[in-house]
């Protein structure tokens, strides 16, 4: 750049010659120069601003464009994270205590139609009815040709059916993936598992929700994605459960009962090893709730938990245990058992007249209502109620299935003295067999309270003390005597020292009063009674044993033989060693022979 001198000599001389001030020229030049510099600086600043604006524009366009792209794009799974691979299924498996699967998930497909895309609705309907005979052809055609845009045809179909539908070649028939709940063991433990069905349904997925049993009670936990990989371990044992159900089924048929239930519980933990209620159902194909008739007769009804019955003489054990605990009696105290015992307008009778007096032990062994009622009179209503409360008879069973909330015991409105007397031998108070099993476990484990549970957990342990060790021991001895010399003589299983108490209760009529020929027969047993490990409660609904000259309905003839067969089958499976000399060597064959 050429610099113009501030004082060009030629102009200065010229100005001087004209008599002007030459400084004016210098100032003029300085001004011009500064103007030029200013212009340059301004252009530069403007240019920089422009570049900056350009940068900002680019940045905003970039951010805006990215936002638009993100907003437009299809949602996709993150490709780099490993978290997704852990989620196996939307619902955790359920296993028994040995890890054998009781409930799992299965991938299948649903079938739906979009009638708009259909080419030949008539042909499609014909073929569909061939594949699924339960579909109605006329209805399908009506749906396909009407103005519906979408309809479900089948919620789950097998791969073979899917292929067959595929072969129709109809573009309007589409499949969506479905995860369905599968109970591979069929009817086994149906009442515990309950069942599952679809909740909210979409084309690509459907919610699987529990509808009953443990599936519903623990629905949240089972569906929690965080623990989907860990299966839920129940306290049930598959083989024991199967054996018990088989024996109960046979027993129910032989005893002509209309229902049966069985509960096998560990006395030290309250874990239920097997619980069955017959008749049962297949949770894979859960029947609908009955719309008519009595709820109790439905296979869905869980007799072991939902069925609250007056269980009869099995309650005598609690009366005697309390009397021993309070020091009112000893096993040898003589009790007046003159039958009938008259109290106001009520008369309490024994099944047979047992004479003027019996020892407390004999009251249990022979099952004297009168004797028990007399002992209960000494205990009194308030103390009896408090004791039964401690044993858990006042609240619904805490078992982890939804049906347990329906097991609230039926208590007398007014716990009067006559109620005390009848409750002492198990009438006037209705509870479920599950309550009974928990209470027997409490006595069997040495007197500490048991909370029944279906969940396998090493932390399960008995709670507060209800009766003393000595009382519990005395009760176990009496219960053993019931089997060796009393009403449950058919319950003896060699080597397992079964102890227990029978109960035969007349069924109440819906109109009031009691049936003469319908009973609930119960046998609550403890084995082995010198150091009990398990409690078994078997209940038969309306059993009658007709092998004798006249029909026999008492528990000793009905529930007890069934229970002893259950013990005989189940105890070896539980690994309980009989305390007998094993038979000769020839009977012990190697499985591989």
């Amino acid at each position: 750049m050429t610099r113009i001198p501030l004082r060009p000599l030629a102009r200065i001389l010229e100005a001087r010659s004209r008599g002007e001030n030459p400084d004016a020229i210098e100032r003029e030049n300085i001004r011009l120069r500064q103007e030029k510099m200013r212009d340059r600086a301004r252009r530069r600043a403007e240019g920089r601003l422009l570049v900056l604006a350009g940068m900002f524009l680019c940045a905003f366009v970039l951010v805006g464009g990215r936002m638009a792209l993100l907003a437009q794009s299809e949602p996709g799974e993150p490709r780099t994270s490993v978290a997704g691979a852990d989620i196996l299924a939307q619902r955790a498996d359920i296993t028994d205590r040995e890890g054998r699967i009781l409930a799992t998930n299965f991938d299948t497909h649903s079938l739906y139609a979009q009638p708009e895309d259909m080419v030949d609705p008539g042909h499609a309907a014909d073929k569909l009815v061939e594949i699924f005979p339960d579909l109605d052809r006329a209805r399908l055609i009506r749906d396909f040709t009407g103005d519906r845009k979408f309809l479900w045809i089948k919620k789950t179909i097998s791969p073979e059916q899917q292929q067959a539908v595929h072969d129709i070649g109809e573009p309007g028939l589409l499949f969506g993936p479905r995860e369905m709940r599968l109970y591979p063991n069929g009817r086994l433990a149906a009442h515990v598992l309950g069942g599952a069905s679809f909740g909210r349904e979409g084309v690509h997925a459907a919610e699987v929700v529990g509808v009953a049993g443990v599936e519903k009670y623990l629905d949240e936990a089972l569906r929690d994605p965080a623990r989907a990989e860990r299966s839920l371990t129940l306290s049930l044992d598959l083989s024991v459960q199967a054996a018990m159900e088989q024996v109960l089924q046979g027993g129910m048929r032989i005893m002509n009962a209309k229902g049966a239930s069985g509960i096998l519980m560990e006395v030290d933990t309250g874990e239920v090893v097997a619980v069955a209620s017959l008749p049962d159902f297949d949770p894979n194909d859960r029947p609908a709730l009955p719309t008519s008739g009595h709820q109790d007769d439905s296979p869905l009804f869980n007799r072991a938990v939902q069925g609250v019955y007056e269980l009869g003489s099995v309650f005598k054990v609690f009366t005697i245990a309390q009397a021993l605990e309070l020091g009112l009696v000893t096993p040898d105290t003589m009790i007046n058992t003159e039958s009938p015992l008259t109290w106001g307008r009520f008369r309490i009778r024994d099944f047979r007249n047992y004479g003027a007096e019996l020892s407390v032990e004999k009251v249990i062994v022979k099952s004297s209502n009168v004797g028990t009622a007399r002992i209960a009179m000494d205990i009194g209503a308030a103390r009896q109620r408090a004791f039964l409360d401690k044993l858990g008879f006042m609240d619904a069973s805490p078992l982890e299935i939804t049906e347990a909330s329906g097991s609230t015991p039926l208590l007398p409105k007014n716990w009067s003295e006559i109620s005390t007397m009848t409750i002492s031998y198990g009438h006037g108070l209705s509870t479920s067999p599950m309550h009974l099993a928990a209470a027997y476990a409490t006595i069997a484990n040495g007197g500490r309270r048991i909370v029944p549970t279906l969940l396998r957990d090493d932390a399960n342990a008995p709670g507060e003390r209800v009766v003393s060790e000595a009382t519990a021991r005395a009760m176990r001895k009496m219960m053993r005597n019931v089997v060796t010399e009393g009403t449950a003589s058919l319950g003896e299983v060699e080597g397992y020292a079964v102890g227990g108490k029978t109960g035969t209760a007349d069924k109440p009529k819906p109109t009031g009063g009691y049936y003469d020929d319908k009973v609930i027969a119960t046998f609550a047993s403890v084995f082995p009674s010198d150091d009990p490990e398990y409690v078994l409660v078997v209940t038969l609904d309306e059993p009658v044993e007709r092998s004798g000259s006249e029909p026999r309905r008492t528990a000793g003839w009905t529930a007890v033989p069934v229970a002893s067969e259950v013990i005989r089958r189940v105890a070896p499976l539980l690994g309980l060693r009989p305390e007998i000399e094993p038979v000769d060597l020839a009977a012990i064959k190697r499985a591989s022979d």
Binding site: R79, T80, P184, V493, R569, A571, P572
Partner: protein
């Protein structure tokens, strides 16, 4: 002089880094695609495993086993376990002594020799 060298070096570094970034980008994408494929394979394998487990449980359901035991009673003679089947350890025989080694084998077939 120094300055232009710096410019040249800087621009070379930029080109080099750009090339490196480009390559890394593609390598990352490739790795992601591979991870995704593996993920897919894992999911597939787990699904198969689940089906197999369900099938195993189904084939081992007690109903079926009972039926099989009854069908094969002639051969297996399996009965429900009974309390008297518990044995004591001293009832179990000691294993038979191992057979003596055969030192002078006699050929009973000529097949091997022909080979």
């Amino acid at each position: 002089m120094m300055r232009s060298l710096l410019y040249v070096l800087t621009s070379l570094a930029v080109i080099g880094l750009a090339f490196w970034a480009y390559r890394e980008n593609y390598r990352t994408q490739e790795a992601q695609a591979r991870a995704q494929n593996l993920q897919q394979a894992i999911v597939e394998a787990r699904r198969n495993l689940r089906v197999l487990k369900a099938e195993w449980a189904y084939l081992n359901r007690p109903d079926r086993l009972v039926d099989l035991v009854e069908l094969n009673y002639d051969r297996l003679e399996l009965m429900p376990m009974q309390p008297d089947q518990f044995g004591r350890i001293d009832q179990v025989a000691f294993p038979a002594p191992p057979a003596l080694p055969i030192t002078n084998p006699v050929d009973v077939s000529s097949m091997e020799r022909e080979q």
